[in-house]
């Protein structure tokens, strides 16, 4: 067995995760943020590794 199998397995798992996500939490284009945060006038609120609850 070569890495072809495991690489394809990885991509299949990723596709399954996205499929699961889209069946439970579909995208909504009407909630799209500005294309760039820079110059948007909106405060950054997204989750990040370094963020700690206050």
């Amino acid at each position: 067995m070569t890495r072809r199998f495991t690489a394809n397995l990885c991509m299949a798992a990723l596709a399954a995760l996205i499929l699961f996500d889209q069946t439970t939490r579909p995208l909504n284009p009407y909630r799209a943020p500005a294309a760039l945060a820079l110059g948007s006038g909106q405060a950054v609120t997204a989750g990040f590794c370094a963020a700690l609850p206050k």
């Binding site: 890495r3 495991t6 690489a7 996205i18 939490r25 110059g39 990040f48 590794c49």
Partner: protein
């Protein structure tokens, strides 16, 4: 003439075949970015493209974190580590003025230094050497079919979820206020710090290794450009582990679980993100893109998937599960991995990024020695 024609035909044949084989890969990547831009929003499509770019550069130019640290420890070859410092310095040159001139819109990777943060970084450094895959490395390696990284990845995500779940408790054991270097003086201090660190590595280097290979200089330049793009598009620096924990949180909630017991996952921003598509989460998008970009490079190469799956002893596979979990758990206690804490923390002025590096590098010494004992490589 006839000879020339005869030799030309076979040469063109495989080239055409290669092009036909590669075309669907490029089209699939373009289609994914376009579809996400259309159905989710341009910002998300751009972030997926940035993530694919990260994966292409990291795999295509073989730029990493765990491998260069290992080469510095075992062979005193600092080339890869110096390339990391170069990339961080380049990002800092852009990130410091951008964050200073756009407060609120853009934010750095600021986090406090604390007992759990230092301990977490030490464990992360150890785990990344045992697995030979850091935060970015595990994703990229999984995308290329590396079975160790592929098995570690789900446990990395589970560990990230549980680490985040308990991070408030761990941080409560003792932490300093968040200390951030900012403005021109902060940038100068950061660049001096990076130069001094590079100088230490050069002093320790073995003769004949005191240089950055050209390939890694190009990779550092490209990574810096992508990291700056990540900051401009998303408003926050390049990160990885938040998204992995979020995937598990979403699966847990969809399966009927409750996150009410966690101060972290109950935080308004995180609780809201758990209900939203992971394709609207910044770190998830770049991580998915990295896996896809690495797959693309491996598939592009003629024999990119030819390597056979190794026959490792059972204790090696058990170690992959345990250290995969530790990789995720420790990265949340230390406020990021080699990317979120070290690369992005230092390049946006957070002092915790510097402390993270020292603690993780110390842990890497232990990890390098543990790896053969766990059956993950031939013992010397």
């Amino acid at each position: 003439m006839t000879d020339a024609i005869l030799t030309e035909i076979p040469a063109k044949g495989p080239a055409k075949g290669e092009a036909l084989r590669r075309l669907p890969l490029v089209l699939a990547a373009l289609l994914a970015v376009s579809a996400l831009s259309l159905f989710g929003g341009l910002r998300y499509g751009l972030l997926l493209a940035v993530g694919i770019g990260f994966g292409i550069i990291l795999e295509g130019l073989r730029f990493g974190f765990a491998g260069p640290w290992r080469r510095m420890i075992r062979e005193r070859d600092p080339g890869g580590v110096l390339a990391q410092l170069l990339a961080i310095a380049l990002v800092a040159l852009a990130a410091f003025p951008l964050i200073a001139s756009h407060p609120g819109e853009l934010a750095g990777a600021a986090a406090p230094i604390g007992y759990a943060m230092v301990g977490g970084a030490f464990v992360f450094g150890m785990a990344m050497q045992v697995l030979l895959g850091c935060g970015s490395g595990t994703l990229v390696n999984a995308g290329t079919g590396n079975p160790v990284s592929l098995l570690a990845l789900p446990f990395f995500a589970i560990g990230s979820f549980f680490g985040a779940y308990a991070t408030v408790w761990w941080t409560g054991l003792g932490a300093l206020p968040v200390i951030v270097l900012s403005g021109t003086s902060g940038l100068i201090l950061t660049l001096i710090g990076l130069a001094l660190l590079g100088g230490v590595f050069l002093l320790l280097a073995a003769p004949g290794t005191r240089r950055i290979p050209a390939r890694m200089v190009w990779a550092a330049l490209a990574l810096a450009a992508l990291a700056i793009a990540n900051l401009v598009i998303s408003g926050q620096p390049w990160g990885i582990v938040y998204g992995l924990g979020l995937w598990v949180a979403q699966i847990a909630v969809s399966s009927g679980g409750s996150l009410a017991g966690s101060a972290y996952w109950s935080m308004p921003g995180n609780a809201e993100q758990v209900t939203q598509s992971l394709l609207t989460d910044i770190t998830s998008l770049t991580s998915i893109g990295m896996i896809g970009g690495a797959f693309l490079v491996a598939a592009w190469r003629k024999n990119g998937f030819a390597q056979k799956i190794p026959h490792l002893p059972a204790r090696a596979w058990a170690s992959v599960i345990v250290f995969g979990f530790l990789l995720g758990y420790s990265s949340r206690l230390s406020f990021g991995c080699n990317v979120g804490a070290f690369f992005s923390g230092v390049s946006t002025g957070s002092l915790h990024g510097w402390v993270w590096f020292i603690a993780a590098f110390a842990g890497a010494f232990v990890g390098v020695r543990l790896r053969p004992l766990l059956g993950l490589e031939a013992r010397a």
